[in-house]
Amino acid sequence: MRRLLLVLLCLGPLVAGAAIDLQEFDTPAQEARYHALIDELRCPKCLNTNLSGSDSPISADLRRTVARMVREGRSDEEIRSYLLERYGDFILYRPRVTPATWLLWFGPAVLLLVGAVVIVLMVRRQRRAAGAADLSPEEAERLARLRAATDASRS
C-alpha cells in the first residue's frame, strides 16, 4: 500500500507537466519569438492572465495558432494584428497607441510635466517673496548697527 502511494506520488509531477503543450520550432529564434508573443498576449477568457500562463482551452488553441504562424514565418506584427482583428484590443497586454489610449500612454508624462511646472512656479514665487524682503543699503546699515548694539549690551 505504501509502495503504491510512493509510485503514485512519483507519477504526480508527470501528470502536472502534461498540461504544458510542446511546440516544435525550426530555430531557437522562432521559439524565443513564440515565448515573447504568448507572454504579451492576453487570454480572452481570463481577466488577468497571459496566454502562456493560462490553462483554458481557448488559450491552448491560441498558443497553437501563434506557434503555427511563427513557424510559417509571419512577423510578430502580423500575428498580433491577426488576433487583434478577432479578439480586439483586449488581447494585447501592450495596448496600441490610439486616441482612446493616449491618456494611458501619455498621461504619466503629462502629470510629470504638470508637477514640474508647479514646482517651477512655486520656486519663482518664493524667490519673488524673498526679493521683496531685501533691504535697502540704509536699512542694512541700520540693522547692522542694531545688531552691534545688542551684541555689546549682551557682553
Binding site: K45, L47, I58, L62, T65, R86, Y87, G88, D89, F90
Partner: protein
C-alpha cells in the same frame, strides 16, 4: 488664474471618480467588446453534422438575416439555452445555423436527436479554427448576421427570452424582419 488653480483638485477628483465609476460599475469585465461587429462573417468551408461529406461555405448561409450559434455537447450553458433556440426556430422565420465547436460529431448528432434540433444545419468546427476566426472565447456564442453576410450583433453566453426580446429581436427588426407576436414595446 488663481481661482482656476483652486478648482484644479476638484476637477482631478471628478475625473478620477468618473474613470473609477466607469471601470468598476458600468462594464462587465468578462465581456469583451467584439472586434467583429459590422465586419463581414469570416469565410469558411466546413462539413456539416447532417452531411459530413459536403462542405458548406459562407455563401450557402447568406442571402437573408440569420443567427449563428456556436455550441457543443460539453457546454452546459448550451444545454440551458437550447429550449429558447428551439422556441425561436419554431415561432420565427429567422434561420438558425449552428457551429458545432470542438466537439465529437457522433456525440453531437446524438445530442440533437435527444434534445431537438433548432438548426437548419450545424457546421463542424472540430479543431476550433473557425471559432478563432469568429473571436469565440466561450461557448455558447450567438451572432446576428445580416443578408449581406455582415455581423451585426454578438452575444457571449446563453440566449434566453429576455436576450431575444431586448437584444436579438430588435437587431433583426432593424434588418427588416417582422415579429408580430411581440408586444410593440419590447426592445
Amino acid at each position: 488664474m488663481r481661482r482656476l488653480a483652486l478648482l484644479l483638485p476638484l476637477l482631478l477628483f471628478v475625473a478620477i471618480a468618473f474613470m473609477l465609476w466607469r471601470g468598476f460599475s458600468l462594464e462587465d469585465p468578462h465581456k469583451l467588446p467584439s472586434a467583429l461587429i459590422d465586419r463581414p462573417l469570416p469565410a469558411f468551408s466546413l462539413p456539416t453534422l447532417e452531411r459530413p461529406d459536403v462542405p458548406v461555405t459562407k455563401a450557402d448561409l447568406t442571402g437573408r438575416p440569420f443567427l449563428l450559434n456556436v455550441w457543443a455537447t460539453w457546454c452546459p450553458t448550451c444545454r440551458a439555452e437550447h429550449s429558447e433556440l428551439e422556441r425561436i426556430a419554431a415561432e420565427h422565420a429567422v434561420p438558425i445555423f449552428g457551429v458545432n465547436y470542438k466537439d465529437d460529431p457522433a456525440e453531437a448528432v446524438r445530442w440533437l436527436a435527444r434534445y431537438g434540433d433548432p438548426y437548419v444545419l450545424s457546421v463542424i468546427d472540430a479543431d476550433g479554427s473557425f471559432g478563432i476566426d469568429l473571436g469565440v472565447y466561450g461557448a455558447p456564442e450567438t451572432f446576428v448576421v445580416d443578408a449581406g453576410g455582415v455581423i451585426r450583433y454578438k452575444r457571449v453566453g446563453a440566449v434566453d427570452r429576455r436576450v431575444w426580446e431586448e437584444e436579438i429581436a430588435p437587431v433583426l427588426r432593424e434588418l427588416g424582419m417582422e415579429f408580430d407576436d411581440l408586444p410593440a414595446g419590447a426592445g
